[in-house]
Subunit: 92 residues, 2 copies
């Protein structure tokens, strides 16, 4: 599922990449930038697929979306985990 929380889209391994791509496109159009967070290989894979898909959604509007990956320490149920944060924004 995809959940919107303080401007971070959280992606799970069960997320549908097309749905995530739609959500990313919406945030990009409204806010110009989005951060997508994924924990674990399956979730990271869905997030990257969504990024590839949303580039196609945004290209006709002249938006060349780029991705900046980073590690992010997060706490899940009191345990420290390392998430992948994919910052997406138009190429400037």
């Amino acid at each position: 599922m995809t959940e919107m929380n303080s401007n971070v889209l959280k992606v799970a391994s069960s997320s549908n990449p097309n749905s995530v791509a739609g959500a990313i496109a919406g945030v990009i159009r409204e806010q110009g930038r989005v951060e997508v967070q994924a924990i674990g290989a399956g979730a990271v894979n869905q997030a990257v697929k969504a990024a590839a898909i949303v580039r196609g959604f945004l290209a006709p509007s002249g938006i060349d979306l780029i991705v900046i990956p980073a590690f992010q320490d997060v706490e899940i149920d009191g345990e420290g985990r390392t998430a992948i944060r994919l910052i997406m924004e138009p190429r400037r």
Copy 2:
């Protein structure tokens, strides 16, 4: 393992992200651009980790590395598969 083939770095789920990051940095410094290919969630995850790591390697040289994800049809042992291609280049 990481294998260099016609300017495409192939990353597997068993690849070490630090080693891949080093290989990416080398190609970026020599050729200015690299394409990283991964098939499957585990491999995509390692490739994204490598991208996050190599940004840190290149930042001191003033290189702000960005990632452009795309789908790529490939043939593996005669079977069609969809790979993820991560194009990495300095932000222009």
